[in-house]
């Protein structure tokens, strides 16, 4: 007697739904892709779409604001780049010299 298993209820698909596509171990990526195709072909494309949509939302929510020190770092980068390009446009020296050499 053959037991047909539902590919959409495979543990890898559940893992992708709960924790995201990127939580799939690297060694199981090919198996996961095969399961996704089988799940779609079994008449459950909504499951696959739901996984993808939740994945985007999860990543977006996790990274849409800058936590802790990262915003300070970003402002510093913006300042240095802005100063560099402003100096290029205005043709002024931009180098920061902490210990000028005696002429």
């Amino acid at each position: 007697m053959e037991i047909q298993s539902n590919p959409c209820s495979h543990p890898l698909i559940k893992l992708a739904r709960e924790r995201g596509v990127k939580s799939i171990p690297i060694k199981d990526i090919l198996k996961y892709r095969k399961l996704i195709k089988e799940c779609e072909n079994n008449g459950n494309p909504a499951v696959v779409e739901q996984i993808l949509m939740m994945d985007w939302e999860r990543d977006f929510k996790r990274s849409k604001t800058m936590a802790s020190w990262t915003s300070t770092h970003a402002m510093f980068v913006m300042t240095t780049i802005g100063y560099y390009y402003m100096a290029k446009v205005l043709d002024i020296p931009y180098d920061v010299t902490f210990f000028p050499k005696d002429e």
Binding site: K64, M66, T70, V77, Y85
Partner: protein
């Protein structure tokens, strides 16, 4: 100390299979505009064009260690070569020049939209340049001496050289880049960055077989740089 390094390596190898490392791998190109006066002034060297002057090959690895931050290593390489360049001693040698910029970036980012990320990178730079010549024995020392007179006035006395030898220089610098990343899938993205790098290069700090020599003049400080790459996330 050696046993501690071995334990650390074993730890990383074991955890690789069981945990999900937050890794991404990048591959792409960079564009910048250096002024390599030392090569432009001599017609023996390959003529300057986009490929050998402005184009950089780029690969990098990043690890996401915090919610909105990554560290990693990224390398941009410029390569130029020509067989049979003529020297003043009537010899011909095969010439290869590589300039390698190794970035050690600290990158912070945020998702402006579900598929769009803005990232901000600060990076110390370890720059390295290698010029290698394939010469014909037994004239290696003479050929190298003649080659080095292209960059300095006066004679250069060298020790015994091999048929394939290389002169090397290292320098440090810093840079900053602002990036825009568009996610094609949750793992794959196209990343465009723009910024600058400032390198403290000195043409007098080349070494050839532990001997200090003068190399080509290169203006590689205060350069704007652009990069376009494909990023694949394993996390």
């Amino acid at each position: 100390m050696k046993s501690q390094i071995q334990v650390l390596l074993l730890f990383f190898l074991i955890t690789w299979g069981y945990s999900q490392p937050k890794l991404s791998f990048d591959l792409g190109v960079g564009i910048y505009q250096p002024t390599l006066t030392g090569f432009d002034e001599d017609v023996a060297f390959p003529g300057k064009d986009f490929i050998n002057r402005n184009l950089l090959g780029n690969w990098g690895v990043y690890y996401e260690f915090f919610y909105n931050a990554r560290i990693g290593m990224s390398t941009l390489t410029s390569i130029d070569s020509k067989d049979g360049i003529g020297l003043e001693n009537q010899s011909e040698v095969d010439f290869t020049r590589r300039i390698i910029y190794r970035f050690f970036p600290v990158q912070t980012f945020f998702r402006w939209r579900p598929r769009i990320e803005l990232n901000f990178t600060l990076m110390p730079i370890w720059g390295r340049s290698v010029i290698s010549l394939d010469t014909s024995p037994p004239k290696q020392s003479e050929d190298w001496g003649s080659f080095l007179t292209k960059f300095t006035d006066g004679d250069v006395t060298l020790k015994d050289m091999d048929a394939s030898d290389a002169m090397v220089t290292n320098w440090f610098g810093y840079g900053s880049m602002l990036g825009f990343r568009f996610y094609l899938t949750s793992r794959m993205a196209i990343d465009f960055k723009s910024g600058f790098m400032n390198n403290q290069y000195d043409e007098k700090k080349w070494t050839l077989r532990d001997q200090k020599v003068t190399g080509p003049k290169m203006k590689i400080d205060g350069l704007p740089i652009f990069s376009l790459k494909l990023s694949y996330g394993f996390r």
